[in-house]
Subunit: 344 residues, 2 copies
């Protein structure tokens, strides 16, 4: 391995002191124009790049961000990671990942240890872990920089990026109503998650604008897995009168609905419309392709990272000003259609 140049080498060759080189690297203002360019030239000639550990030790920063997540079907994990790194790498940060269990008793402890051990400069917390107020509080208390991704604005603007799931669900409701559906069922996610209640309320709100009300027994709670999607769908479809449309809290469960419909010989979308949420890879690949809501995951990651780095670099104001809300969009595919015999 070719020996790495140090700041001393740069200083010596450029004929200045270490301190000055350090100033150039960190963009301190008080460096003369000529000195600066001279130093920069040497730096690039030597391909010098500062030793992160030494730098961290001296300045108590690590240039490391953390990603805390617990996603059973982390389909968008890669999207998030790429998004985060897109912002990171220009600014000299790297990303350390930390999968965990939301429901674990030691979650908070575990995450704090993680941050401390690696001396992370800040963390990005994905849903559903992001909904843990105890974690958020612990992070705040420990003075750590953090940004949460969620469906609800449950924190100050500088700490959060929200996807407006409520509005998106309302849009789905509108779409359903316009297709003429009146007998609509909803398969919700676990009610302990904000994202679930947001989507449900948004959907109900949207429907009510058209005078449609969800029958209480047509609201069934799943836990966002394919398997519970199947269970819930069975309850809804293996009965005398069934809904003409089902909106599931996510694509996984919607896929479960398709499975059940198929096995019962119910044609989608002719006899039953089905829609999901997330637009994960599954959505476009199942048959029929799912109508769903697309969350701008990448964009959320970009925004979150920008915010995070700004607050790390003591620019809270800028962090607050970065957009904190993104709008998911309706993606219509093949799994939804007009109610048969209803031509309004």
């Amino acid at each position: 391995m070719q020996k790495q140049a140090t700041i001393n080498d740069v200083a010596r060759i450029a004929g200045v002191s270490k301190r000055t080189v350090s100033r150039v690297i960190n963009g301190s203002l008080s460096v003369g124009e000529t000195t600066r360019t001279r130093v920069e030239k040497v730096i690039s000639e030597l391909k010098y790049s500062p030793n992160t550990q030494a730098r961290g030790l001296a300045s108590s920063r690590s240039y490391l961000l953390g990603l805390i997540y617990d996603n059973p079907d982390a389909l968008y994990l890669d999207d998030v990671q790429r998004g985060v790194l897109e912002v990171c790498s220009n600014l000299g940060y790297e990303l350390v990942v930390h999968p965990c269990r939301y429901r674990s008793e030691t979650l908070v402890q575990d995450c704090l240890r993680f941050m401390q051990r690696s001396k992370l400069d800040g963390v990005i917390v994905l849903p559903p872990v992001s909904e843990s107020e105890t974690l958020a509080l612990a992070l705040k208390d420990s003075g750590s920089a953090y940004v949460r991704l969620s469906s609800v604005a449950l924190d100050e603007a500088k700490h959060i990026v929200v996807s407006d799931d409520r509005a998106a669900a309302a849009e789905m409701a509108r779409y359903f109503a316009q297709l003429g559906h009146e007998h609509i069922a909803f398969i919700s996610g676990p009610q302990r998650y904000k994202s679930s209640t947001e989507r449900m309320e948004g959907f109900q709100l949207g429907l009510s604008a058209y005078g449609i009300k969800l029958r209480p027994d047509w609201i069934i709670e799943g836990n966002n897995t394919f398997e519970t999607g199947i269970e819930c769908a069975r309850q809804l479809l293996q009965v005398e009168t069934r809904p003409t449309a089902i909106f599931a809290n996510n694509d996984q469960m919607a896929a479960g609905v398709l499975k059940v419909a198929h096995s019962l010989g119910i044609k989608v979308p002719e006899q039953l419309s089905v829609a999901g949420f997330d637009d994960n890879m599954l959505a476009s690949r199942v048959i029929p392709a799912l109508t769903t809501i697309k969350r701008p995951v990448r964009q959320m990651a970009l925004l979150a990272t920008s915010k995070l780095i700004m607050s790390i670099e003591n620019n809270d104001k800028a962090a607050t000003n970065v957009a904190a809300k993104v709008a998911p969009t309706l993606v219509v595919r093949e799994s939804t259609a007009r109610v048969p015999g209803n031509s309004n």
Copy 2:
């Protein structure tokens, strides 16, 4: 944030010198039994944990591992990350991720910079990046510890964990043959990837044991995406005589085949058997659920990490001895069946 205890605090309270505390932490042998326990007691009382940056600076180690990957549909990314961290965290390592572009011209440069900047102790390289010999060479030259995941044993045992895709594909061939299929098509992955050729050759080899030979025009090259799966399937199915079975190089493309079959009114598995490879989440969710090959991703991650850490800690022999090969297994679901009218 509660101020972190330093090694000096521990030393002072335990009434020994820094050096001794350091010895205890690093498991150096020459520490008296009594001193050791006393120090350990203080350490746990203070909840002391060494500052990684300082440690790294002094010992030129970072306790950071890297994960280099480029996976268009990184469905197993989470599996890998969890697997790696399962081993890591007990041993005090963390994981830094680095998505990249395999085909990028600057791949090698980019990865080396990544390692250098973060002073990583070692990296795990996922396919297809793992197939880059120039990268492997560069890593070796730079004296970095690394382990590659691949379908072929393209490196010394201590540097690789292979999944025997060839054997698995052969097993699929056997399964097809036993179902009575003779008119079989294969949708391959890009021929520049070893995994593609391995699977193809394994499949052909397996078939030849039953005296079956693939028609050259029934071997079509896709690029592992759903979309090319669709294209390839069209070529195979929109013709007079079509195969009775199609084996695709991965589940994404197999899903594409299902889509086309459905749109052409070809019943799967009654009129056409379809199988994929990977057993990603898609496989069990599409209709009909895909017969496929399951790769023990988690296990590969565990093995790779063990190897990596062993070689980092200068135990090459142990690293070599960790198992280097895992066997994917056939998972039969609904998309394959006996050839109609063939009862052998």
